[in-house]
Symmetry: C2
Subunit: 311 residues, 2 copies
């Protein structure tokens, strides 16, 4: 992981000083580096030779960082990881352009791996991420649309990059086809668990200490799985509440705590968390065909933790 | 060129309907397709086999379209090619994300060419474009900074993609190293001529019929070559005028026509146009080592026309 951080630090350099400044702000703010950890663990579990898995891990984190920069512009976020977001500090324009820079740098780095199949996987993942983000943007404030598209959308915007991380590392390690398939699936399921748990966390009991500020999805009118489950079994009054707060986007100061009450009382939050845990269990099961090793254990733990996130 | 348009049409498709809608708006609005034309002319001049040059041409146009979408967000432009810009119609958020999508699609298409060297050239060009855009953003309203960085900035934001178009096609056609070098240089010089002429056009006499609305660079406070030349030989009063309108960004209704007067009277506009023509001549000279053909003639004409733009 140190080698990954070094590579990231090296490749975000530019003579245009705003670029390392802005990118460094985000990189230094300490993401969880889960995607690089998947790359490295998969590669080591398969006994990889060489250093290409370190490059892959850096590429994947670059793509992730670029999407965070653009996400914060799209969401008009003022905070990221508890600190002022890059767009809040340097403006939307710089965030858009530095995101483009990091994205291009990711592809420059990919070329160094000299693997066209890995390039194919990562470029396909990138366009799916953008599709997922557009889907989310367009389904805002439409509960019915969100119900139909939710899993498809989180697969695209989140799970695809986890999938590409695991599959890319398997490819670099020249895994057998059935191993590659299992690891691809592992990455997909882990990503699904991760995003559903993230969406649950947004409505977490405010008394629980969490690294996240709850209520952001609600404030932005993003229809996520807890709301979808609550809407399915809503009383007529509750349906009115969800339609007012999401579809009409007419929100009052007490609405977030009302939403949290409904989500807790109806069991929608637990139901969504159970879904995250189910994804995590399925992710773990994909690893059955690999013998035990400390790296496999890391991957198993990552799956479990992804559904039990507190930050 | 028809095959290029077909490929572009095919690869901007997505199940997320906003994407082809928004991308199609820009693609259909009829860009000049100069970069694809360079790819195809170079490839044919060198007697290329296969269809990879068509794919390259589509990739380059995708990258160009993606940067236009992000540029219009950064510049807050309401118009593009005489029509409402995508960000004006669909909003900045969708423009950022669809730009990301097109950019990723460009890389997906590149992988189909199965050429790591071409991928290396295009990914390096993309990160230079982003660097050039950040340079421009940061040097806004600082005439001294702009003077130092102008040629470096237009090389990055504009010329690099022209260079990559010519060099990429030469690589695909397995040109000899000295041919590749000459064509790379041709692309670079053509791009420089193109951008300087574009910057001159922005101050064109409003009586001249032109496809462009003049005065946009001025309104946005972008310091371009005509202003740099005018500032170099400015009287104390003119210096005050440029500092007020660009550095203090304090602009009054009559200022654009005053700027046009100064630029015409001092010969700054002619001097900048002469610089564009000089770049174009140098671009043409790069082609000396190729025998005459209709494709070489197209490349020669493109160079000349790039410095004599009226749109």
């Amino acid at each position: 992981m140190q080698a990954v951080d070094q590579l990231i630090g090296m490749h975000m350099q530019s003579a245009v000083s705003t670029i390392p400044l802005l990118a460094g702000h985000l990189v230094a703010s300490g993401g969880k580096r889960i995607r690089p950890l998947i790359c490295l663990s998969v590669a080591h579990m398969l006994g990889i030779q060489g250093k290409n898995h370190v490059t892959l891990a850096a590429c994947v984190e670059f793509i992730h960082t670029a999407t965070l920069l653009h996400d914060d512009v799209v969401d008009e976020s003022q905070l990221r990881r508890g600190k002022a977001s890059a767009n809040a500090l340097w403006g939307n324009k710089a965030s858009v352009l530095v995101g483009d820079f990091l994205f291009s740098r990711a592809f420059e780095l990919m070329v160094e791996m000299q693997s066209l199949p890995v390039l194919g996987i990562l470029s396909a993942a990138s366009s799916r991420i953008a599709e997922g983000e557009v889907m989310q943007l367009m389904s805002l404030q439409d509960i019915e649309a969100a119900q139909t598209h939710y899993f498809q959308m989180i697969d695209a915007k989140t799970a695809k990059l986890f999938e590409a991380s695991a599959q890319g590392a398997a490819l670099l390690a020249v895994a057998r086809p059935e191993q590659q398939q299992a690891l691809k699936q592992y990455g997909h399921l882990l990503g699904m668990a991760f995003q559903v748990a993230d969406d649950v966390l947004d409505y977490a009991n405010p008394n629980v200490t969490s690294g996240k500020t709850p209520g952001i999805d609600f404030a932005e009118g993003k229809v996520t799985l807890p709301v979808i489950y609550a809407f399915e079994k809503a009383t007529p009054d509750e349906k009115k509440f969800w339609k007012r707060t999401f579809e009409d986007y007419d929100q009052h100061p007490d609405d977030l705590s009302t939403a949290q009450d409904i989500l807790n009382r109806t069991g929608a939050l637990t139901q969504a968390l159970d879904q995250a845990k189910a994804f995590a269990l399925q992710a773990r099961a994909q690893l059955d065909l690999f013998p035990h090793s400390e790296f496999k254990q890391t991957l198993l733990d990552l799956a479990t933790l992804s559904a039990e996130r507190t930050c």
